[in-house]
Symmetry: C2
Subunit: 423 residues, 2 copies
Amino acid sequence: MSPSTVRRQWEVASSSTAQNTHNPIRSIVENLRLEPNPEKPMIALSIGDPTVFGNLKPPVEVIDAVQECLTSFRYNGYAPSTGYQEARDAVAQYSSEGVTVNPQDVVLCSGCSCALDLCITVLANAGQNILVPRPGFSIYRTLAEGLGIQVKFYNLRPECGWEVDTAHLEEQIDASTAALVVNNPSNPCGSVYSRQHLQEILRVAQAKFVPIIADEIYEHMVFPGQTFHSLASVSEDVPILSCSGLTKRFLVPGWRMGWIIIHDRHGIFEESGVRVGLQRLSQRIIGSNTLIQGALAGILTRTPQKFFEDTVNTLQCHAKIAYEMLSMVKGLTPVMPSGAMYMMVCVNMAQFPEFQSELHFVEQMVTEESVFCLPSKCFDYPNYIRLVLTVPEEQLREACQRIADFCERHHSHSPNTNAHARI
Amino acid sequence: MSPSTVRRQWEVASSSTAQNTHNPIRSIVENLRLEPNPEKPMIALSIGDPTVFGNLKPPVEVIDAVQECLTSFRYNGYAPSTGYQEARDAVAQYSSEGVTVNPQDVVLCSGCSCALDLCITVLANAGQNILVPRPGFSIYRTLAEGLGIQVKFYNLRPECGWEVDTAHLEEQIDASTAALVVNNPSNPCGSVYSRQHLQEILRVAQAKFVPIIADEIYEHMVFPGQTFHSLASVSEDVPILSCSGLTKRFLVPGWRMGWIIIHDRHGIFEESGVRVGLQRLSQRIIGSNTLIQGALAGILTRTPQKFFEDTVNTLQCHAKIAYEMLSMVKGLTPVMPSGAMYMMVCVNMAQFPEFQSELHFVEQMVTEESVFCLPSKCFDYPNYIRLVLTVPEEQLREACQRIADFCERHHSHSPNTNAHARI
Ligand SMILES: Cc1ncc(COP(=O)(O)O)c(C=O)c1O
Ligand SMILES: Cc1ncc(COP(=O)(O)O)c(C=O)c1O
């Protein structure tokens, strides 16, 4: 150490990665003034954790599969960093719907977040950009911005079931665009894209030669009458990294079991080193819990169809209740979802002039009604609130009633609008 | 997209992070010609997974603790990204030996690898360097080089129980040094540092104002008569991030449960944003499996002392056997370990002139004797082989005997040296 470079005191600094990694939802929520009405029990319609209310539980077959692994003492050692062969076989088989997946195309990860982390990290360098939906889930920003990768937004169209505005998408693509993130079914929208719409998205990606990261963590969670198509099952030419996992459909978010499926088309991921890059990156943290890996084949094959049906029936039933109740409310326009576990509700801010934005609306609703919904700013979008549909029916009804009461009180044309709301 | 920037074909590339992330052990081993002698069953003394031979198993109390969580249905949801409060409480208590750890100083991670990843990522920017021991475990390079952080080596001194050459360490520190990694007990050396030696290391760090990442995944795995001191229990002024987990001591590497303990001294990590940076980074993959988190308090408090004693007694017994057998072998100089689960054995290459390096020596030993040890090149060090001590006793004896036979045959001064070995 040359004398000129000797430190004379502590100069510890946190890295730019640490400084640039942030969770927009957390920052926004932490800055809200959330003081529930002490006379009303709090109902949080904000938490994207389906297990939190205790009404939705993983199937007993899933618990049994893990229990068998646990007591076998066979799944305590290290697995390969991309996962046990048998677990990758099981995911390949589970995911071969309308498309053939080979086990070597599967990389097990610690949750879908980790899968997305690897996909973004392998495809983009600092200074490049990825395209993400607006409104969209904030983890893409958390992951990309931490790495110095810019996020550019493409618009979704609420009036068309939150389909991608493909003209806008196309405009956003530039020479530094490393990947396009498509989230279907969508958080926060609850939208489910038709095969035809997926083809339209693929056409843009193909025309501009942009590979896709398909966030399909809500795959198959579509309401009766709807069909889920994986993007890979529709793509002929566009290389796709699909991300999914047990988190939502099997109601075990805490277990951190996700995966990437490499849908290479024309060997593009192979040649470019993306495939081997994912393997390399998987060695950083050496994969996911081996007990769950060991149980994966059992989980994916033994879970009864009825379990899945019960879940989506419940979600649809709740969506209908919320839609019906909130459709009647002046100033609100709910958008009926087709899948996932959320509903977006438009707040016509012009009709609630006392609130500067949906943030303020949300705060005041907590203050008066002890009902908390995420403001759409959390999804980089204005004037909506997002409801989770996993709350028990009674609480959901109660919450919707309170939302209705709140809107009734604050609506500018309502005869009940109280004095200070007029300001 | 301006016409000049339109892509006319696929130009997918893997990122520099992906390209620079590599596991040196894997690259070296993959390039070895490993063709075991078909007449002798293979004995792999190479794998740092204590569970792989089936002789060492986690205690039943640990299995029971997980089972309770599994059947309670209470640990399926998301935990906070730094871990459940009760799990962090348990780690804080477990780690408060000679130093007080508060639960808010604990960040649960997906294995110790993930803990190290977060620590390196939070402290260093691309272009800076971290200091790591030579010989040392290769994950530091895998993690740092992937991020464009340079690795600089400081020497260990085999003749002094693999203590740090503190003069060399001091020389290596420069103005771009973001952190010093200290691994105690050590992989691959099996060394355990005295309190006094830890003080010497701390003096250098303090004089140069370099924070420390203490990799203590082998904490408490020291042979009878030895004492483990955590670096944090000795440090008064140097801020330390300690990394550990269940992996080795509880014999569950696949479970991916590790943690960071923030030992802030004089608020340096607080002020510099390192503490909040770790929290932010933990949101990238949202922590470790919740079943194990739920079981953590039980695991850390209910595991009987006898279990730990049995493990280290076995390891010491194996170390003694290997040491005794290999000490007798001309051309080999084993270094008796004091802890962890490895032994380094010096191969006096001058006495085996037919081999260009220990790599070649290792290859030929597989060819003739079906015994595989890692060459020390895997640890950025020449002329040693590393034995794991977790193999069952009988296999260990057999392996050592074969190593002796092999050396006997190839030693330049041995009367049995066969003709082609003379070349
Ligand atoms: C769209 C979307 N992608 C990814 C994730 C992350 O899933 P995981 O919990 O498996 O990391 C979520 C979780 O809410 C999500 O909504
Ligand atoms: C010194 C050292 N640090 C860290 C690790 C990684 O531990 P984990 O499996 O908990 O990620 C190992 C594993 O062998 C190790 O030897």
